[in-house]
């Protein structure tokens, strides 16, 4: 088993919570793991990415080789396109369709989505709306994680357990709303694969 995943978003959007869940689930299944994060300057509202590598064999490089990622998981649509050179020709894009506009030159969102839909494999999801329905727009990241879940090669139960662990300190309600968001994301993806 080997999965190379690019996580993408804008500094402050919290892509690391998605990474943390996938990481915990992978460890739970006894996999090797490397996760290269972006800290520092770009965290101030700039484009951020994380390279997450899971494998049943030991992993050498912290960075995913260009053109070989299995997945791009993005919490922002334009950001999902920024890392296309990293994606393998058979790889998937899983992205939110909700733009984060903090630059004046942000393109028309319809054109961004059209570019994504021009790619061979993608799941685009209205994560904000689904998260809101699940109880809080803050759970949008968990909707995205859910949408990516069928492609991660991990057991649904280990991903769920990781989400539970991540939010355990915040109380039962927060846990159950995030689990709900996760499952809504997953069922959306299963319908659109």
């Amino acid at each position: 088993m080997k999965k190379d995943i690019i996580l993408a978003g804008v500094g402050g959007q919290g892509i690391l919570s998605i990474a943390a869940c996938i990481g915990m689930a992978a460890l739970d299944e006894g996999l090797h793991l490397k996760q290269a994060e972006v800290h520092g300057m770009s965290q101030r509202g700039g484009a951020v990415q994380s390279h997450l590598r899971l494998s049943s064999d030991p992993i050498a490089s912290d960075l995913i080789p260009e053109g070989s990622a299995d997945l791009i998981i993005s919490v922002e649509p334009m950001e999902s396109l920024r890392y296309l050179p990293m994606l393998s020709r058979s790889g998937w894009i899983i992205t939110s369709i909700n733009p984060f506009i903090n630059i004046p030159s942000y393109p028309v969102i319809e054109l961004v989505l059209k570019e994504i839909w021009n790619q061979p494999h993608y799941i685009t999801i209205d994560a904000d709306a689904i998260a809101k329905e699940s109880g809080s727009v803050k759970a949008a990241n968990m909707v995205i994680l859910g949408a990516a879940a069928p492609l991660l090669g991990l057991k649904p139960s280990s991903v769920e357990k990781a989400v539970e662990n991540l939010f355990a300190s915040k109380g039962k309600d927060v846990v159950s709303l995030n689990i709900k968001a996760l499952n809504e994301g997953r069922s959306y993806a299963l319908k659109h694969l």
Binding site: R44, A47, A60, S61, D62, P65, L81, M86, P107
Partner: protein
Amino acid sequence: MEKLLLLGDEAIAQAAIDAGLSGIYAYPGTPSTEIMEYIQASPEAKELNIRSLWSANEKTAMEAALGMSYAGKRAMVCMKHVGLNVAADAFINSAITGANGGLIVVSADDPSMHSSQNEQDSRFYGKFALIPVLEPSNQQEAYDMVHYGFQISEQMRVPVMLRITTRLAHSRTGIARRPVRTQNKMSLPSNLKQFILLPAIARKQYRELLGKQEHLEMLSADSGFNQFFDYPENRKLGIIACGLAYNYLIENFEGHKVTHPVLKVGQYPVMPAMVNELYEKCDEILVLEDGYPIIEELIRGMLNKGKKVMGRLDGTLPRDGELNPVIVAKALGIEVTPGNSVPAIVKNRPPRLCDGCGHNDAFLALNEALHDYSRGRVFSDIGCYTLSALEPLEAINSCVDMGASITMAMGAADAGLVPAVAAIGDSTFTHSGMTSLLDAINNNAPITVLILDNSTTGMTGGQTSSAYGKIEAICKGLGVSEEHIHVIKPMPKYHDENVDILRKELAYQGVSVIIPRRECIQTLGRKLRQKAKAKEMEVQN
């Protein structure tokens, strides 16, 4: 033992705790910051009473660590690569004094300048100082090297450098711990003159250091961090892979089995015999270094008359920037299938000041106050406020090294650029701006200094600032006259008032200091969240 999932920086911190550390000294700087932060947050470190407060700058950190080593205890000092420039005087001379308690200097390089002004390679400093340098190829090795580093520092009585790069520092993986060592008891050097670098003693000490070099090479041949793998399939090309580059190399081979002879380098000085073994066996040599071409240049020599040596100098690898698996693949002639290119519709998204950041209001006021003067007179410094260089503010004209704003403004004013403005953050001010301000006062320079006080070290994630609560007193003490020190509130509703104050002080023919003061909203937000959490716990109890 169960593995811990740790960043490279955190692995180093945990290793230091486990290896019997007594104190860590540091000034924040990406990508080194998380080492200190991990120790500050570690309950174990607290229980062990490990000293872990931020220093005013890298030089004071280096000196304090050296003092702890003098007293016989294990000390670590951490900084980003440019921090070593600030600490250089203490660092180079610490090699001459030598260490007593184990002393590790962690210098975190940033090839590709993700968050830095340059991509200097700290291994040069190690070579310059003539001390051992350890360069891990992965996070586990980083952990192990801290244990080993303390051991050889005490055995050879020299400081040891641990050189890491951004990718290693900020990548997370499983780490196996080793048994915990107890801290050293206090014990002064047996020779109480060892640390007195008067010429007569320094000469003797320096000769001693030179005399240790051969032994240091032997250590690096024996430690296991430098290894020759004689994969004989393809002897046409031999490869030297330093630090992290080793991982990028093996990534390109099925099952990580390289089909060329490889010398893996993780410890310096490298024993020449080891390099020679590879050199003799192969027709050509490829050198992979995630940094400057140091080993490559040594092997190649100025005249480059021997076998073909490939790397950054002959264009086989890019001359600058960090390596990655694909760059290494290309150097090896391995075919790579590129992904699709980035669609033209994707726009750059550079970092920016947070919405509602006080720096924004300070620079809006400054821009307006300077409106009637010609452009190009604002010397700035390093911190979040440097982002005011970008659109839409475009408020500053320089960012060079910490503290440079004030002295550059003074120099420019000396050349006739009056008024000149300096803009410096609170943490940067106590890092290196105070001596600059003293120069300006002693010169009665016609400059206006903005000390942007957000009560934190914002850019690196909100560490405590040594300047906290002290800025006015420092300025007064250095000799700025009281009527030319103003604390202003950088908020939209005070804009006009702030512009007026700035205008008046710009016209003043001496040093004035304006302190726009408003807490960083990120730090403030975090404090409020912590408070709320603490309250919740109280209620639960």
